[in-house]
Amino acid sequence: MSELLQSPVKKLRDRFINYDEFSIADDWWNAPEENEEEKGKHPHFIYSGRVHKGATFGRYVSSNIGSIYTQVGTSSEPDEKKKDFNLVKFLYGLLGKIKQETVVKDKELQKELTTFSELKEDWDGYGALTPLKETIANTNRILSNLPPIILESISDLYPNPHGTISLELTNKKDEIVSIEIGKKTYSFFSKFSDKELVTREKIPLDDTDGLLFLLGQLLILSHPDRQ
């Protein structure tokens, strides 16, 4: 492992070693890779508690960090060391923002979600449907897959009259990723100030590529340069 990488990671570890919701795996730089050549290149994160798929998230961030930096306007393609350094700096920036308020917010969202099942049919006076338990479970699953920094960007969670549930994430530039969850699949759109509308329709909950694409949009939304 590059020395360049060690210092910030040690700082991270020191900072979060006692944090209930987050820890870095002891062997994060040696986590198994499908491709042997990739071994050691990508940091892997293990989230304890209710955030899952940490390894997938870590791999995704690391493999896409170049494109994220391109999108925020780097002048040249970083060499490997610089890219690694940028990656750690980027992750450090993300993780450094985790606050106790985020954990509280997460719990509040879970609580809010459970109230949707208590809505009666016609809850809006215009024939609105009660969200199905499958839709609520799917929403819970998506929430569980979001890294803490992204949870901070959740601006709203609400039921729709025809039974779906919407989860909205925004940043200070009024950019938005809106996820709509149904009984079997979810869809989303993203709208950034400098980009065209992006939409994805009816993604199965177990579609990893769909989830990774969504996470990519959410990371762009949460990027420090867009705050």
Binding site: T135, S178, S187
Partner: protein, 144 residues
């Protein structure tokens, strides 16, 4: 007063709000329709809109009247939706915003329509009622 069926672009449309703020689901269609109910403000007054809103409260479902949202017909059309007259008995000034896509129960709208509801929610002005418990609309009467 005779109410024309054609809705002109400058017409103000009222959506009654039962939350602390306007949300995109205020512009989502009823199940199995592409329609969102509105009142045409040029042919009624805020007092009536408030009375209508309070009559439709459902406190047991947290549906509590909070105020009025106003959007102009041209703002609805600008995002790709339309608005048509749909008079009801004792509610001649009733109309429907038509988003152009039927909301299938428990399934997502195609996302360009989700974006459309988002844009309408952003375009609308929220007039929060400072005294919702009172019978009359006592706030700004010049809703824009």
């Amino acid at each position: 007063m005779s109410i024309p069926s054609a809705i002109a672009n400058p017409e103000r449309l009222v959506r009654i709000i039962y939350k602390e703020k306007i949300k995109p689901n205020d512009f989502r269609p009823k199940p199995n329709t592409d329609e969102v109910s509105i009142l045409r403000l040029e042919y009624t007054i805020p007092d009536f809109c408030k009375k209508h809103g309070k009559e439709n409260e459902k406190p047991e479902d947290k549906r509590i009247y909070h105020g009025l949202a106003v959007i102009r017909a041209e703002e609805v059309r600008k995002v790709g939706a339309d608005v048509v007259s749909a008079p009801l008995q004792n509610l001649e000034m009733h109309g429907n915003i038509k988003i152009g896509c039927i909301a299938i129960p428990h399934e997502q709208l195609p996302q360009p329509y989700n974006f459309m509801t988002q844009r309408m929610a952003q375009a609308a002005r929220f007039y929060k009622d400072p005294s919702p418990e009172k019978e009359k609309w006592e706030s700004d009467k010049n809703l824009k």
